[in-house]
Symmetry: C2
Subunit: 410 residues, 2 copies
Amino acid sequence: MLSTAQTLDKQDSLAGLRQQFLLPQNTVYLDGNSLGPLPVAAKERAVEVVNQQWGQDLITSWNQHAWIDLPQQCGELIAPVIGAAPGQVICCDSISVNLFKVLSGALKMQQGRQKVVTTKDNFPTDIYVIEGLKQQLGAASCELVLSDESDIEAQLDESVAMLLLTQVNFRSGRLLDMQRITEAAHARGILVIWDLAHSAGALPVKLDECKADFAVGCTYKYLNGGPGAPAFIYVAHRHQTAFKQPLSGWMGHAAPFSFDSDYAPVQGVKQNLSGTPAVIAMSVLEAALSIWSQVDMLQVRQKSLAMGEFFLECLKACELDKELVCVSPDSALERGSQLAFQHEQAYAICQAWIDAGVIADFRAPDLLRIGFTPLYVSFEELWIAVNKLKLIIENKDYLSEAYQSLQTVT
Amino acid sequence: MLSTAQTLDKQDSLAGLRQQFLLPQNTVYLDGNSLGPLPVAAKERAVEVVNQQWGQDLITSWNQHAWIDLPQQCGELIAPVIGAAPGQVICCDSISVNLFKVLSGALKMQQGRQKVVTTKDNFPTDIYVIEGLKQQLGAASCELVLSDESDIEAQLDESVAMLLLTQVNFRSGRLLDMQRITEAAHARGILVIWDLAHSAGALPVKLDECKADFAVGCTYKYLNGGPGAPAFIYVAHRHQTAFKQPLSGWMGHAAPFSFDSDYAPVQGVKQNLSGTPAVIAMSVLEAALSIWSQVDMLQVRQKSLAMGEFFLECLKACELDKELVCVSPDSALERGSQLAFQHEQAYAICQAWIDAGVIADFRAPDLLRIGFTPLYVSFEELWIAVNKLKLIIENKDYLSEAYQSLQTVT
């Protein structure tokens, strides 16, 4: 298997990008689906924005360094990665806050319908935000419908206002068919919100082509924007006049610096801005995003699929495929860029693996989750990771007391 | 006046704090009420959180460097500065977003009342957020009432649900009487939200003592947290059970990492958390906040008042007090920590002053706004600033074309 890995690495057209990231020595990082690593450009920008722009140029940086344009600028850098033409994506706030904006605004556009359908095992914040909106508006205006992931289309009828789906399941990695589901929803007059947390930067997303209505996503996973980096929001051009979100802060005003007391939203996706942008975080993000102009998302997908398959082969070769039960779809084409394995000792195994220099993550109650990030992980590293895992499992290292105490993890 | 300035500087017990800030050479910074300068500790922390915590320790930093606790940690550092006992302040999101949370949640507590009173010349985002909530809930559930600043108490009757006031007016610097107004509102069953944007870190704020119900504030002005740093929110202990805010994201859940599909809010002020915290921004903020444990807010107030009075005296001595019409209250005790002057050429004067090494700011349509920040500005600097202003105005330097074109400013 090692020689196969080395051959695959030699053929890898993305291999050169690794040098644009700073990763710790002797570490295999399989958790870029939770927190992307530090890009060299982001490290440099952090120093620049703090020491020079804030420290020396102070308030004049709003103009001099175009701080005021960062949300749009970052949005336009993300747009091609998620298949969006310009003018439809902007960076701001968190996914949770952006979901509230989109759900509130879109529900207003769907007068007479109040159901919001989502999946039972969607990432909890997506469900919680619908619950929060329901609490606020009352059950007569907003009703939460939880669907099985395998049964979404059966839930779609003319009483449904909105369908909120995460394109790639955060646990299993299952990839939903954006095109087909969006079409099925539109046929019944339903608006669709796609949460791209686990797909933006992981695979080619085609929002415009699939006629998606709205989308949200985060930038700290596959987009490597830094811990807690600002999220983004997509509003399709055709909805930008009718859509009005309720968190109407001064940055979404047509003329924020005229300090009018009447709120007049700016035209376009920029109306989603609310408060003052998070300048330091967004500058770092902007630098991190610069890498995507050099990347072909089809190549990313190709390598990601190959990595997943190679990882499974390594597991098999090491006879770990019985001990670790794969809960991700069998077909690579039905997966995002991750694999999840069930094991009653998943937490302890994950901790022991980290100690051995391989970082993956644990998802309650019993999943070991492995992310494949083609920009900076090699096939040889996957081979190393599986071999270390083999030792941990064979020797039952994970039973050590140090690995058994459950801590908060993200 | 110079010798007076030098005497005042010698007597200044806060003078030693200046060395904890990095300010550009040969610059007098009178705009800390818009963007506080870079604290040495924040500069160091930025490198630490980016290079070491993100770059080297990666995802393990959520536990290892307690990223998960940053919102509470920052909140507890702010609490004593605004007169709040522990457990009532948390850092998150922006003022605009936090206002939406507080207004929504508090309005629910005031069943049968729908009026939200604020002042006509409040900072626009405060008004816009009420307008957004009104759009979302409908006029029958939320009504905006705009009051003159001089006439607030006349608006307060039993039909009013909420009173939203900014303690220090962003233009004039007028300081409202928190104690008296809060009492008057409570006597009529009205809940009061204080916006501390221009008072947190500027003067002793006494939320608990005044029995304030809710407060919001930003950290990038007098608290020096960095451009676009996260905001904060205060919920008085007595309201923490009844108050439920609608932006219910996973970080406000009682057990975010158990990934339950039902939203169960965590007890206390922490329920105001919504999405993943802005780790880089909040780490920098935490370092910036460390200075406040060394500072007595009464001394800050004393120096701030003296700075305002000394600045006015310098203007008078330079015979500028007729040309620049002070629109701030005459009595120092009725002002926050700023002065505003009307001049039809205020924008151009501000630009020319910046070129001469004195940074203040302009507020549309015709105000020159000067902030006094006792932690890092000396009396001698005020004297230098006024003397430079005298030259600009005497020589009409501001008429130069370079200073006449209006740009975006914050």
